[in-house]
Structures are given as structure tokens and as C-alpha cells.
Symmetry: C2
Subunit: 396 residues, 2 copies
């Protein structure tokens, strides 16, 4: 047999995916599964986006410009100016989701064997993109006791060497819900600048903030223009996950030109998705407001319900729509499986993500799960109750 690549073999199997067959079996048995395992919002996409699709006046789906149409990128500039981010269309490359934005970024700044530093737990697929480019992820562990705030600058500086190319953070953070303060962003950006590294900030959850904190974008501070790379997407903000429109924004033109070369090789982002994303930008301003209000309510319900549980710790989701929960179990993956195979309440159970997949250090996260509060308050209450009762049975 011909051989598979080492890097292909090295991509860890997704812990969520391992659970899918058990969820399918439960569904076959008639058990309703509440999905807290994936950041797929249940909120409707903007009606303007879907109407634009229904009204397309095209008889031929042509290639789009590799970097996305000028109109779309120009429209994005208006969106960003409402967030104190002042850019021009040439600072943007439109991508197939934030996923492709991260792949192009890795490829544009790293060669095989190079390193990127990421505070863990982090969005699990960063591992996959790094693996695909043979880039080594150097984790700095953030702690649930500190609500997963930024680890000390010294702990980052300790890991910087000749192979280090970038520091990557996600703000607000998937999977912890932590929102980095302006102070934290500036500190880490200064460190990157000092060592001439890129500072890559994934800001796809920019608007999802539930405290008095104001989101501070890496591109609000001109001092970091040469070093800052912003990763963004319409997926969460506009409930357009299936559209697959993301973007890379940077004032570093050499970096953007390199990303464009990678973008040219794959020709074009998806045309129809771009129409939907463009109309989302033009949609009623109350849309996002209402979305945030809804998530804010869900967060309150979540915290109220979680606070009733004994022997757990959880991160306060200040932003995004995730929380990490530390359970009184040895193996959270086993517990997640148990919920699907051996437990239900009124014929309902819950699917959660084992958190070990969000850590790069092998020993971390095995007693933690990540939940996404993407369900309405009623379902969320029932889900936390199921986790509570499930825990009692599992640990007894």
C-alpha cells in the first residue's frame, strides 16, 4: 500500500467526532440530543442575506476575484470603521471561513519546523492548521482559577526562540469565553513587536461581549500595524456558518501580498456565500444587537444553572458563547460518552466536547468539557440539569 504522510497521521482524531457514532445511536433509540458540543448558533441568519440569495439575478456562477470583490472589501471597511479599525480594501483578503484565513496565515509566515505560541486551551482546529503546515504549536497554559486570563508575559517570553514566528490568541476566546482587556492585548502585542513576531488575533466573536468590557481590537493601535494580523469571519456574528466567508486583515502589505499568492492558487471564494455575507453587512443594525441580547440572556441562565452544581468549576463566559467546565471526574471523554450511551432524562440527553482536544499539552484538560451555549434558555436549563444528574450517576 502507498504510504500516508506523517503529518496526516499526526493530526489527532477529533474527540467530538469520536462521540458522533454514540450520539447517532442514542438518536436511533429515540433519545433527543441537546447539542452543546459545537458552535453552531440556532439563531436565524439575517433575512437580508437569504433574500439576496433568493433574488439572485445571475445565469452563470463565475469565479470571484481571489481576494473577494472590491465592493465586499469596501463594505467591510465601513463595518470596521464602526469598531475603530481604519483599513482600506487592499488590506483584506476574503477567505473560505476563518479556517482558510488561518491556513493562509500559517503558510505565509511559517516554514516547516517553525513555531507559534498559543495560550491553551485554544480552538482545537488551530492544531490542525499548524499540522497541515508542519508548524509546531508551543502552548502556554492558562488556568481556570484565573478565568483563563492571559498568562504572564514572562511565560511567553521564555518560549521565544529563533524558530518562533507568531503569537496567536483568540479574543473573545473560544473555548474559554475570556475577553482579553486592552491592557493584556497591548502587553502581548508589545512583546511580539519587541521580538519581531507576528501577533495573530482571531476576533470572530468581536461583538459577543456580556460584561462592561469594551472589545479592544489588535488593529486599533497603529503601533502594531506591521505585526498585527486579524482573523475574522461572518459565520458567528451573522449566523452564517455554512456560507464560509472569512477574511484576513493586515496593514502589513508584504504579508497581505503573500496571502494573496496563496489565495490566487485556489482561485476564488464561493460567489453565492459572498452575496449573503455582503448583505449581512448591510442588514438591519438591530440584528447583531438582538443576537447579543439573546446570548446575554442565555449566559445568565447558564451561570445560574451551573452555580447550582456541586464540585465543579467553570470559566465565566465574558464573551463568545463557550465555557470550560472542570468536572469531578478523571476522564471527561468517558463522561461525555456516558451521557450519550447510558443516560437520559425524560428521553433527552446532552452532547458536550471533551476539553482535552483544546489543549496541546498532553496532560491537560482531561477532567474538563467545553460547552457552547447556542441553545435557547429552556433547552439550556434542561441540558445543565441533565449534566448535573448525569454527573451524580456517573460518579456514584
Amino acid at each position: 500500500m502507498p504510504t500516508i504522510s506523517k503529518k496526516g497521521n499526526n493530526i489527532p482524531p477529533s474527540p467530538i467526532r469520536k462521540l458522533v457514532p454514540f450520539a447517532d445511536q442514542a438518536k436511533k433509540k429515540g433519545v433527543e440530543i441537546l447539542h452543546l458540543n459545537i458552535g453552531q448558533p440556532d439563531i436565524k441568519s439575517p433575512v437580508e442575506s437569504l433574500d439576496a440569495i433568493r433574488n439572485i439575478d445571475l445565469d452563470l456562477l463565475k469565479y470571484e476575484y481571489s481576494q473577494g470583490s472590491y465592493d465586499f472589501r469596501n463594505n467591510l471597511c465601513s463595518y470596521y470603521s464602526g469598531h475603530n479599525i481604519y483599513i482600506k480594501p487592499d488590506d483584506i483578503i476574503t477567505t473560505v471561513g476563518a479556517s482558510e484565513a488561518l491556513s493562509f496565515t500559517m503558510n505565509s509566515i511559517c516554514d516547516p519546523g517553525d513555531e507559534v505560541i498559543i495560550p491553551e486551551p485554544f480552538y482545537a482546529n488551530y492544531n490542525g492548521f499548524a499540522q497541515a503546515s508542519d508548524v509546531k504549536v508551543i502552548p502556554i497554559t492558562s488556568k481556570i482559577e484565573d478565568n483563563f486570563s492571559l498568562p504572564s508575559i514572562e511565560s511567553f517570553e521564555d518560549k521565544i526562540n529563533i524558530k518562533t514566528k507568531a503569537i496567536i490568541i483568540c479574543n473573545p476566546c473560544n473555548p474559554t469565553g475570556y475577553v482579553y482587556s486592552k491592557d493584556e492585548i497591548i502587553k502581548i502585542a508589545k512583546l511580539a513587536k519587541k521580538h519581531d513576531l507576528f501577533i495573530v488575533v482571531d476576533e470572530v466573536y468581536r461583538e459577543f461581549i456580556y460584561t462592561n468590557l469594551k472589545h479592544f481590537s489588535i488593529l486599533e493601535d497603529e503601533r502594531f500595524y506591521d505585526h498585527a494580523i486579524l482573523i475574522d469571519s461572518t459565520s458567528k456574528r451573522y449566523s452564517l456558518c455554512g456560507a464560509r466567508i472569512g477574511f484576513i486583515v493586515s496593514k502589513n502589505s508584504e504579508f497581505i501580498e503573500t496571502c494573496l499568492k496563496f489565495a490566487l492558487t485556489r482561485l476564488s471564494p464561493p460567489t453565492l456565500a459572498l452575496i449573503a455575507a455582503n448583505e449581512a453587512l448591510n442588514s438591519d443594525k438591530n440584528y447583531i444587537k438582538n443576537v447579543i441580547t439573546e446570548y446575554s440572556n442565555r449566559r445568565k441562565v447558564l451561570i445560574t444553572e451551573l452555580s447550582k452544581l456541586q464540585d465543579i468549576k467553570y470559566s465565566d463566559p465574558m464573551g463568545a458563547f463557550y465555557s470550560i467546565i472542570k468536572l469531578p471526574v478523571k476522564d471527561a471523554e468517558e463522561f461525555a460518552k456516558f451521557l450519550l450511551t447510558d443516560f437520559s432524562v425524560d428521553n433527552e440527553s446532552v452532547m458536550v466536547s471533551p476539553a482535552s482536544g483544546f489543549y496541546s499539552s498532553k496532560d491537560n484538560g482531561h477532567d474538563e468539557i467545553r460547552i457552547a451555549f447556542v441553545l435557547n434558555s429552556d433547552k439550556l436549563k434542561r441540558a445543565i440539569n441533565i449534566i448535573n444528574l448525569g454527573l451524580k450517576e456517573f460518579t456514584s
Copy 2:
């Protein structure tokens, strides 16, 4: 300034892209440009695809399964069974165009420094995908005198070493228009099998055949099931270039499982595009027939017109919609630029692709261009006439 990756720097700038500013300037001066430089068909997409989009009954664009929906993959199986290819949905990974199919393939079978052998001239973006994965392309030069048929098996075997992971061919071939015979396919597949290499065949132009030859797919012969990887797409067949739906097909389940890992990291192909592609599969069977008839007529016009030109050689496009033309000039890129900046006939000129970008060997192709016969017969006639008159002026 932080540094850009070597591989990013090494991606050659697209020769077509270098010409774009000159085309834009010409258009600004009021000169109409006939685009023979890109494989963007002018033929309408299937009405069923666009109607399905206009009638979408969705209020939320959710993630699709990473490998594409079961229904779509099942529908593809029916399509393939009409081409003597018998596969099951699990043999398919849906991708963002054939581009992503090739990226996943490179990543699944090659580590940095590994080699793939490709007869040149080849589709220029193969270079980009290889570069992104730090894979070395080993070219075997095919010759216009042989109509770009398969170079000798010995010339391939000479290049095989411990780092060789695959042989990649495109059938029918972009950019030469050559259609490999069953005999050639079997010979090269046997060689791959003998050395336990993958044989990757890009068959996106499967139906585009204008001679009595029957297309022979790598997956028609069970002997090569372990080694064969088929790259495919709906882009050309259904004039759905902007949809961005491609697929990887293989009976090698270890390979498909590895591709799936890469697919999972980027979550989902574009949902709307998948709807359009699925309906294209269900569209009126006369659609493809009519498309091929139209291209067949264009090919006749092209050959008639090219045969009037002096001092050129051209490849007979037996399939796909491209031909390589060898010109009596030293630098075809200069000639392509000249057509845009200094030449027009009745206020019309032509944009062509310098062919050097389709070669991996530095010295090859500098006196050649590739043209895509994606325009109607009238425009095609005018375009070849412009090239003819332009050549006379350029060489005088």
C-alpha cells in the same frame, strides 16, 4: 519587520496576474479585451442549480458535514456509475473546488521535502499547492511535437526515488488539451503501483472530449483501487466555477480517512454551493451534451483559424478547452503584454496566458502561450485574427 515564510516568497507570481494591470489600462482606454487567458466558461449554469438557490427554504445557513452531505455524495455515486466508476458515498470527500481537493491530497500523502512527478506543461496552480505543502514538483517534459502525449514510462521511472510519493496527471489535460488513452493511463498506473506510489488523476474535464476517444478514468480499473486518487469538480462541467464544489474520490480508505481529518479542521464546504452542485447533478441530461457540442464547434473554429497562421505550432485540443501555441517569438510574455498595451484591431484585443507558468523547468515554455476557447465562435475568430495580426506587427 516580521519575516515572511520562504515558501510564501517562493510561490512564483502568476504570469497572468502580472498582465492584469495592462488589461485594465487597455479597458480604460476603451479597448475591448477578449479573454482567452482563463478557463471561465461563458456558458450558462444549469437553470436547475440557480432555481434551487432562488427557492431555498432555509432561515439559517448551518455548517454542512465536513465531507459533504450523504445525499450529495450518494448523488455523485449515481453520476459516476454512468461513467463506469463504481463507488460508495464513503469514498468521497466534498471539497472547496478541485483546488482544496488537491491541497488535501498533497497534505495527506506528502511531508515536507517529498516529491511528486508531473508531466509538464501542467495546470500552474499545482505548483502553488505543492509549494504550500513544501512538496517538490519533479517535471517530465512532454512535447508539442508529440501533441503533449504521455512521455515515456522510462522517463518517469528514472525520477522515482525514496522521496517520491505520487505521479499526478490531468486527463483531459489543462493546459494542453491532450486526452490520455486507456493504454497510457494503465501504463502510468502500473508504474505507480509497481513503486507503491499514488496515481493522482485530475478529471475535472472528463466529458470534454472532441475526438472518437472514450475517456478512461483511473477508477475504472479495480487493479488500481489502492493507489488511485481521483480529483474532480462541478466547476467546468456545469459552468459553476464560482460555486466552489469539488471532490476527492478514492477506494483507499486510509487515504480518505486522512483527507477527512483535514476536512474536519476547516469544518464545512459552502452550503449554498452544495445545493447548486447537487441540482446540477439532477439537471437535464442534455445540458452537458449541449455544452460539449458548443465546445466542439468552438474547437473546429479554433483549429480552422489557427491553421491559417504561419510559423506557429499548436497542440490539438482533443479534450478540455485549452491549446498550447508555440509562437515565433522569444518571449511570449512580452508578446502577451504587447497585445494589451500596443495593439488592437477595431478597438479590440486579446488576453492570453504566457505558457512558462505551466512549466516547472525554468527554460521551458517561454515561446508558448495557452489559450482557453471559452468564447463563442465569432469572438474566437476575431481573437485568433488579432493574435495573427499582432504577431506580424510584433515580429516585424
